[in-house]
Subunit: 204 residues, 4 copies
DNA sequence: TATGAATGAGGCTTCATTCAT
DNA sequence: TATGAATGAAGCCTCATTCAT
């Protein structure tokens, strides 16, 4: 990467991280492109050289932040040699993600509203890792499924159910302790998740 | 109700139904208060006599539409004398709601994005039925729970899990057939719901 | 005055005193007719039965409050038999007014901006006392002038100069202590006033 | 100054002079920012690039117009070598200003309502001359005071008294001939001013 | 590639005034 | 006489986007 390319990347990254900060502190609607450009230290016109509009930069942020999160969880899982079943792996990842988001509620707030199946699949499937450290999570999941002792009936549906359940419940549990604080909700939630997996498992 | 009150109610209802139409056709963000007033056939200032702002009218719409929907489902359930267990009752209501929303995707689109636990509880609990035909759904649910042969461990959490799961999954299934058309998703979904209920049931 | 007239007077007085309170606390521009009516406990339409618009009620307030103030000062002067010369009388009245306004800065703020010669003359000359206790100050002044041992050359101009000087200086001195606190400014101010009077005095 | 800066200055000046015209013909309250922008031939948003709001542009106009006026008067004084005493200098400047405002009643109307001590000091003291031709009048005054044969006791108070007296009296005299046409009022007024100066003068 | 001045549509909200009751 | 619902003009201000430099 030459010096010019380097500078361009810096500008883009600066815009991305500034936008994230503003979106999470002031909210998406109340953040203007002007704000982003000014805080990123670039001209307003420059924004348009890198992103089509506010929605464009938001979507790119969601994809990037989600992937970062899943990558972190997955890398952590790789170190746990003692976790062998698909069920335990999935619970481990969920638990990791929940703890992470509990620590970083600002990120939760940003991602959660957008972590629906549609965007999720778009984000994690179509997402082109831009870095060696980023992972195509969807294929990782399929590999995990295939490696298991059990055969999963319709793994996509199973993932869908789990993601929607977890994604929508943790939001209010972590941010508002409703209907229970996340710590107390976990047992109920994991019990449901394990049930979902069992229902989809058939002997190979 | 005298003539004046009558007229006021008409104005308010006209604003509510116009707002619903515009929110569902053009989207919330792209609907302006000006649009609502103009289409409702009243002056712009009149809007502010009845609602504080766009968010206010939206919240009132959510509460009203949700209640209407649940009331309809509940009334239908009352006619099914053969459905006796809590589990069957809940499944019946969910099934009724799904079919209803499948027929009325515009309503689904409007409600789904807002049917989170927080708003749901606010909408259905604090909601003051404005009409003899409207129902306080939350107390109906608690009555159903108490009447059952089983005791439910933490009925609020159970309801929370079910609502979040159903609320977030049907959206993409009905509107985008993703990951499956709603018809095919139902068995999986109901299976999970029944499991959730069983997990929370203890002998009395 | 019959009961109906009584009630009308009460309404009008309520509107006047409410308007005064709002003008002085929130400012004239930021006070709406709606505010006045609501706080006075009458309907919005009722306002228009008594006053033409916001300017109308303001002018009536200025006239009323000014007269009240001058009347108070004049009545106080009447008790001071030892004050005999015109010069001393004028200084006494000014001193009384300043002390009064210093105690009641809200009133000062309201009156001062309007106590220009034009409005003053209109207010105090055309002002029809509405009450036995109110005084036509301009004729009182002319009587005082005629009673003095000296003849005053152009008493109207003299009054004009004094009023403009005092009216415009005390505002910033009392409210902002600029360029001096009113207590320290008084000697300078009274010295100028006495000079003005002397310049206009001729032997009879 | 490059072409861009040149254009910006033109825009700003256009807005300033348009605002002045509208304020003086239609009044401050009845002039909207829309009006100013439209008449200046710029977009509404452009206004906000240069001024915070209507009050901001008004204050800048007062400062600018006042300074312009005083500068003109002062430059004229500099040519009168025969005027040597402070008293004569001040009277000369006042006379010059009065004649000028008598010729330009629109300007009088605009400035007079705002030429209170507070704004005057702010305008003439804090005012940063934007042009070689503009003068910091307050320091000019202090120099004049120090150069005089007499020592002035509290020159700030003296200036305050003179400005308030002159500022408030000429308004009604010039615009309404009340209580006398300005020509006839002058002798009385200058007599008072000279008295004020004498009162403040002490032997060095 | 980078800038930021300029734009003007469009949003929100307030309010004086009217008028049917 | 009294009310207050209704109106819509009018004001303020923001902002995405363009374009000349």
């Amino acid at each position: 990467m030459n010096k010019l390319e380097q500078k361009k990347k810096e500008k883009k990254d600066s815009l991305l991280s500034t936008a994230f900060n503003l979106f999470t502190t002031s909210g998406f609607n109340k953040t203007s492109i002007s704000d982003i450009a000014k805080n990123a230290g670039v001209g307003k016109g420059t924004f348009y050289l890198y992103f089509r509009d506010k929605y464009d930069i938001r979507n790119k942020l969601i994809a990037h932040k989600s992937d970062e999160l899943f990558t972190k969880a997955y890398l952590s899982l790789l170190n746990k040699k003692e976790i062998t079943t698909l069920e335990d792996k999935i619970i481990y990842i969920i638990d990791y993600l929940i703890d992470e988001l509990n620590e970083n509620q600002v990120l939760l707030n940003f991602i959660s509203k957008n972590l629906s199946w549609g965007i999720f699949k778009a984000a994690l499937t179509n997402y082109t890792p831009q870095d060696a450290s980023e992972i195509d999570f969807y294929s990782v999941y399929m590999t995990m499924v295939n490696d298991d002792a059990y055969k999963i009936d319709n793994p996509e549906v199973m993932l869908f159910l789990i993601i929607e359940l977890v994604g929508s419940t943790i939001y209010s549990a972590i941010l508002y302790n409703e209907p229970l604080p996340i710590k107390e909700l976990k047992p109920y939630l994991y019990s449901v998740v394990r049930n979902i997996i069992k229902e989809h498992s058939v002997e190979k």
